[in-house]
């Protein structure tokens, strides 16, 4: 008995017990570290994977949102092997086979951003927390894209932004989990500048009307930089609220300002309204400083051109993509979208569709849905066959680099969809910039767990 007592004294029993408890507690951490790494927010477990499409169904950008939703539905069909496959056969990466993503059938949920940050984040949270979406895509409005992008970073969910043109999205407010295929305001300025100089000379005085949020601010800054480089003078830059509807109070002062070019940093319904009203005020037929008065709409889409009608004729702008591009991929996408929905796709639809395919392809190449691996697969990814020529997803700011189209409203449209004409292309080299000029920080790869 005494022998037993000496060998298993109180202290030893406690020590041994504690060591045992510690070992049981710690060993799973050591033995299954590899397995832990695979645990992340909304890891798809069944035979389906859910994507979240967060688009404006109401508000100033509702037209764009509706078209984006059509493109997403088309992309899901093509990923699941339905329809004609769209861009999949043209895409330079050949991992997509119409068998879903990693063999899982693609399902989707939708939400309305209302073109405002709060509702956009609420609906993104619903899709992540309730519906288990593993990726969120959408946008229209850079304010919304920036807000949702930072939410997605917090939750460890990849965000593939669609229509967002502000420099901040992949600049000051860039995030490790956010990716943008669309071009930005800086690239618009660089692309549009030479064309404006060639068409309107370098003795001009420009007046800016600017949508009062992140996109408008950076677009105004980029346009002022590009036009002042031509030798133009900036008379004034006036901020207008988003969704103002009536711009007459902002256009009246333009008449007597001594300006001879009006640059409208507006998009969606705002762009349509301000352009139409400027034309109604007779600005197009006006003479100022001995020259013809000119209007410029730096970012233009075919939806806006359709909305503005005749007012758009002769007006210069830039586009990410246009459906009449002659390359095979663009034609295939236009045909596929037209067959499904009965109208050619807008640039918003195109970028939404491409982003969905790019995400699916990155997951296939990574071989997992684990976000850090998917992010690494997207970073510095060089691809082609998506309608924009050779394109690079730059790793340092998650911005795509590709040619920028300079477009002009057609004077004599041959049909109701043939509204814009691509007048020149700014090469990918000319619109490439140093990521440092916009600052910002991407943040960590490691995902946060959502609740």
């Amino acid at each position: 008995m005494s022998d037993f007592k000496r060998r298993y004294g109180r202290r030893r029993v406690i020590q041994g017990g504690l060591a045992g408890i510690l070992a049981t507690g710690v060993s799973p951490l050591i033995l299954s570290r590899g397995a832990w790494a695979q645990e992340f927010c909304n890891a798809p477990t069944g035979d389906t994977v859910t994507l979240g499409f967060n688009v404006p169904q109401t508000g100033a950008y509702a037209d764009e949102g509706a078209d984006e939703l059509r493109a997403y539905e088309l992309a899901v069909e093509h990923l699941n092997g339905e329809g004609d496959g769209g861009l999949i056969p043209h895409f330079s990466s050949d991992t997509l086979t119409g068998n879903g993503i990693l063999g899982k059938r693609v399902e989707y949920v939708t939400g309305d951003t209302q073109t405002q940050s709060d509702p956009a984040r609420e609906s993104a949270r619903r899709m992540i927390e309730r519906d288990g979406a593993v990726m969120i895509t959408g946008g229209s409005s850079s304010g919304v894209a920036v807000a949702v992008q930072s939410l997605c970073q917090d939750m460890g969910i990849i965000f593939m932004s669609a229509l967002t043109h502000s420099n901040d999205t992949t600049g000051k407010d860039k995030r490790r989990y956010g990716f943008r295929h669309f071009f930005n305001a800086y690239q618009s300025g660089v692309g549009l500048g030479p064309q404006l100089g060639q068409a309107y000379g370098n003795q001009r005085r420009a007046y800016h009307l600017t949508a009062d949020y992140t996109w408008g601010w950076t677009q105004e800054e980029s346009m002022i930089a590009a036009t002042e480089a031509l030798g133009w003078e900036t008379v004034e830059a006036v901020r207008t609220p988003v969704g103002a509807g009536d711009f007459s109070q902002y256009i009246t002062p333009v008449l007597n300002s001594g300006a001879d070019v009006l640059i409208l940093n507006h998009y969606g319904f705002d762009g349509v309204n301000s352009l139409t009203q400027a034309v109604q005020f007779g600005l197009k037929d006006r003479q100022a400083n001995g020259q013809d008065f000119q209007l410029v709409l730096p970012l233009v889409s075919d939806l806006m051109a359709a909305g503005a009608g005749e007012a758009m004729q002769g007006v210069y702008g830039t586009s990410n993509w246009y459906w009449s591009q002659p390359d095979e991929a663009s034609q295939a996408f236009t045909a596929s979208f037209g067959a499904r929905w009965g109208s050619p796709p807008s640039q918003a639809a195109h970028t939404s569709y491409v982003q969905t395919l790019l995400y699916a392809d990155a997951v296939e190449r990574a071989g997992t849905f684990y976000p850090p691996e998917v992010i690494r697969a997207l970073e510095d990814f060089e691809f082609d066959g998506m309608g924009n020529g050779p394109t690079l997803y730059r790793g340092s700011d998650h911005q795509c680099f590709k040619d920028v189209l300079v477009v002009q409203g057609k004077e004599t449209p041959s049909n109701q969809y043939d509204l814009l004409e691509v007048v020149s292309t700014a090469s990918r080299e000319s619109v490439t910039y140093d990521p440092e000029i916009f600052g910002g920080e991407l943040g960590p790869y490691e995902p946060n767990m959502c609740a």
Binding site: E129, L151, D212, P241, G443, N448
Partner: protein
């Protein structure tokens, strides 16, 4: 302690209410709303509506600008995150103080008038605050883009204790993260506390004085009673409730946008209160939940979900039903909201609470009838 004492009926209400709030993750699950994001909204907007009801329900002063205080609370909380610390407590305290100061200033001017003039004055102030936040004070509010955290924020207090980590920090409560369910339980706990405070106000002499002002302010004045300090106190208290709600919005999601102060947001809380039942304690909470539920769940329905829902109908009928019902969900959810509101106001002017009262009295009346007839029987038997 005496200040924690409540009438027995109110204690039962509070207990039942606590159970309902804390078991939300369970009973909301079949309704498709049991996810932290929406449950946080439920708790926060319940706080907002309860506070609004202290002013509107008790004094009868209809403020059309309460969202301004919500916005002030949010901006203050986000600035507290940016400048001081990511902890929720200072953020909420500052949010309450700042919105209280704003309410004092706006209330001092607006309460010189009553009725429609008061409503218009508050609406004007709220719209002014919205425009200031939207386009004038953009260095403070960041306008349409919304005020957000950045990794370069000073965060003075946090920086004293730990180094800057990679990526953005998230709000916490004494070191515990407030993501997901943590955030919900914080909001729920605060909701219970402020609900208790509202109950105390309703049963206190102060609450009685406010009700007296509502029923006849002129008579109150003639009895030599100065009503202004009382209405102002009610206004400031309800402004602080709104500020608390705004602060919580920022705690659960550290971003503050100007649209929170827009007149539509002020109108929404009026809708919530009227829908649930003005002047009742539970009514505004129910109204808030109903509107937030419609906004978040109905707006997410799309034609595909509807088609699944009605797949049991024959083919031709199904298409028709989907076509009609799709107008009321998705982007058309506001149509549903409007219809429900009209129906409630026309048939139940006292809101949903009046509906429950009517149902109760229906049963009560039946029971009373039964006992009355029993009595009759027994008396006849005795004869």
């Amino acid at each position: 302690m005496d200040i924690f004492r409540l009438p027995r009926k109110d204690v039962i209400t509070l207990a039942l209410f606590s159970i309902v709030v804390l078991t939300m993750p369970i009973w909301l699950a079949p309704l498709g709303a049991a996810y932290p994001g929406l449950m946080q909204q439920f708790a926060i907007f319940a706080i907002f509506a309860v506070g609004f009801n202290i002013l509107f329900g008790l004094t009868g002063y209809l403020s059309f600008g309460h969202a301004a205080f919500l916005g002030v609370g949010s901006y203050t909380a986000v600035w507290s995150f940016k400048l001081l610390t990511m902890d929720a407590i200072p953020a909420l305290i500052f949010a309450i103080i700042m919105s209280g100061v704003f309410a004092l200033a706006i209330g001092f001017v607006s309460l010189r008038r009553s009725g429609i003039y008061f409503s218009i004055l508050t609406l004007a102030f709220a719209q002014m605050s919205y425009n200031l936040a939207y386009s004038v004070l953009t260095p403070i509010t960041n306008g349409e883009t919304a005020l957000q955290l950045t990794s370069q924020d000073p965060r003075i207090i946090d920086m004293m204790f730990r180094d800057r980590l990679a990526g953005l920090p998230s709000p916490s409560l004494l070191g515990t993260s407030l993501g997901g369910y943590g955030g919900f339980y914080l909001c729920a706990a605060i909701l219970l506390v402020v609900f208790f405070i509202a109950q105390k106000i309703f049963t206190s002499p102060f609450g009685m004085q406010l009700r007296a002002i509502k029923s006849n302010q002129t008579r109150m004045s003639y009895t030599g009673f100065n009503t202004r300090p009382y209405t102002l106190a009610a206004f400031v208290i309800s402004g602080m409730y709104a500020g608390l709600a705004g602060g919580l919005l920022a705690v659960t999601d550290p971003l503050a946008g100007a649209e929170r102060m827009q007149w539509t947001a002020s109108g929404e809380v009026v809708l919530m209160t009227i829908l649930g039942g003005v002047g009742t304690l539970l009514g505004p909470v129910i109204g808030a939940w109903l509107i937030k539920y419609m906004e978040n769940i109905f707006s997410a329905f799309n034609a595909r979900i509807l088609a699944d829902l009605f797949s049991w109908l024959p083919d031709g009928v199904q298409d028709g039903v989907v076509l009609v019902s799709s107008k009321f969900v998705g982007e058309g959810w506001k149509l549903t909201e409007g219809l429900v509101f009209v129906l409630v106001v026309v048939f139940l002017p006292g809101g949903i609470m009046e509906g429950t009262r009517r149902i109760k009295s229906l049963f009560g009346a039946r029971r009373a009838n039964r006992s009355a007839s029993k009595e009759q029987l027994s008396t006849t038997a005795a004869e």
